[in-house]
Amino acid sequence: MVSKDQKRWNIAANIVMTIMTALAILPFILLIIASFTEENTALKYGYSYFPKAFSLDAYAYILQNASTFVRAYGMTIVVTALGTAASIVLTALTAYVLSKKGLPGGKILTLIVVFTMLFNGGLVATYISYVTIFHIKNTLFALVCPSLLMNAFSIMLVRNYFANSIPEEIYESARIDGASELTIFFKLVLPLSVPILATVGLMAGIAYWNDWQNALYYVDDKKLYTIQAILNSINDSISALTSLGGSAGVTVADLPSTTIRMAVAVVGILPVLVVYPFFQKYFAAGLMAGSVKG
């Protein structure tokens, strides 16, 4: 029997959640419609959910400068793939060592990792040391290395998984078979830890895909721009459009810049919007795993 009270709560909950859903999605719909709005209509009446005239001019501009965007997507994909792969291996290796019971000095090694969660040198010290000691400005390293490659939270998450979910006997029998520790790690531990590594990898992948800060700090060579870096540079000044396209003699005034801006953003987020429903479950699981630490 469902009581009246329960029914009322159920309806109220559905109403509130429907409103929240609409609030979450409507801005994206406006962005997409704005990108298909005719330029003069947008200038005269502003961005609208029901524009008086549609046009594909903004996308025509993007197609004309397709090489810029193709290159940027290439950079985003390379950086995300490289960074995520390296991140998973580094995180797993480090976490594996920390998960070893009885490792002499294990507490010190844990402290070395955990300390980075508590204290951080801040942007100035980090920036100056990366730039003056490691000279990473305008290199691929600048997009992969700073801050994103490995973090203590993920290490501890994976460490706890190793410690709690892989029985000690498995290691023993492998050792008796004469397997080296590295073989055990790659052939036994990694395959047994696919769920947690997928979670950590997904989070790292999203962080790389979304990153614009490393490009903002360390990259001004436009050849290295990722899609997020392009979005950032256009946001900073719409005149970046002309320099990015490399079309000489074109000024912003000649371009349908009001709608191009939105079309570029749509191009930037479309792949994510398309695949997101499929990995939503894992994304939520990853966030939950991080939140209930250990």
Binding site: N10, M17, G46, P104, I133, N235, I269
Partner: protein
């Protein structure tokens, strides 16, 4: 056999130390070597001379920093936004989590969760574009459809030109982006509550509201306290992306949008003022460290399993 009680089998452990090396090398480069750069707060930095070679100048950078009104504004903004958002986020997070839990239809649940988490997945740059579509002075939807359309004003509001709107705009945007994550945070412990409490309460004829007040909230209390304290440990840090991207880097808005992180960035890379930037950054590191350590010490006394270390 030796007489030592326990001889460490180095040959057995050696591979593990080697396996730790790549991660250690990264932490060295990304986290530990930068600590050497903290001394820049007390130096007059020149790129030519490098970190070690630059001249010591004592507390001059700090003196300059605090002789401007910037220091007060950015610290005030950082602290106030954080404190406000911790409590707003907590109330919204719990409310939405409880309501989400009341939805019984699995398909509806999936749709709601997918949608509400979508903003959290987006980068702040993308969020800035979304906000711009609504708030742009000439072409924004709010000015055209609401300010001029509904209220019939002849001129739109210059949202990006007046700092007084931004505490509200930033709060809305922050909650909009964060609410899905906030919900999940509380949902995790909500799902951990034993169903038999509710069954017993229903047998006694308790209403839903009574169940929430007398079962759900009291049982969530430890989680709430932990999260609030751990978040308080972070109040000297701010989300650089939110404060830098969403207000479109507009100078007129700095009074309500400048935080320590945006100041440090602007002084370092836009105004080339390494000294004051380093001083602010140093302060953030040290005070932030003290906050985090204190928060953790408190959490550990309350519940050992919830602390970071």
């Amino acid at each position: 056999m030796g007489t030592k009680k326990q001889k460490i089998n180095w040959k057995h452990w050696m591979p593990f130390y080697l396996m730790f090396l790549p991660g250690a090398a990264y932490l060295l480069i990304n986290n530990y070597i930068p600590l050497y750069g903290l001394q820049l707060a007390f130096k007059s930095f020149s790129y030519k001379k490098g970190i070690g070679g630059s001249k010591w100048i004592g507390f001059k950078n700090f003196k300059f920093l605090f002789s401007t009104s910037d220091a007060f504004i950015m610290i005030r903004n950082t602290l106030l936004y954080n404190i406000l958002w911790i409590f707003i986020g907590m109330i919204f997070g719990i409310t939405v989590a409880i309501l989400f839990n009341e939805v019984k239809n699995a398909v509806a649940k999936k749709i709601y969760q997918t949608a509400i988490l979508l903003p959290y997945l987006m980068s702040m740059v993308v969020v800035a574009y979304l906000v711009y579509a609504y708030l742009a002075g000439d072409t924004g939807l709010v000015n055209n459809a609401i300010v001029k359309g509904i209220f019939g004003k002849s001129d739109g509001v210059q949202w990006y030109g007046d700092q007084k709107y931004w505490p509200f705009i930033l709060t809305f945007v922050q909650q909009w982006k964060q609410i899905g994550f906030g919900m999940l945070l509380y949902l995790a412990s909500l799902l951990g509550i034993d169903n038999s409490y509710y069954e017993a309460a229903m047998l006694d004829g308790a209403t839903k509201w009574q169940q929430i007040k007398l079962i759900t909230l009291p049982l969530l209390k430890p989680t709430i306290i932990m999260l609030v304290i751990l978040n308080l440990g972070q109040i000297f840090r701010s989300d650089f992306g939110l404060f830098y991207q969403v207000p479109m880097n507009q100078g007129a808005l700095f009074g309500t949008t400048q935080t320590i992180d945006t100041y440090v960035y602007r002084a370092l890379l836009e105004n080339n003022n390494v000294g004051m930037s380093a001083a602010a950054s140093f302060l953030q590191s040290i005070v932030g460290f003290i906050f985090i350590i204190t928060a953790n010490a408190i959490v550990r006394r309350l519940d050992e399993n919830s602390s970071l270390f």
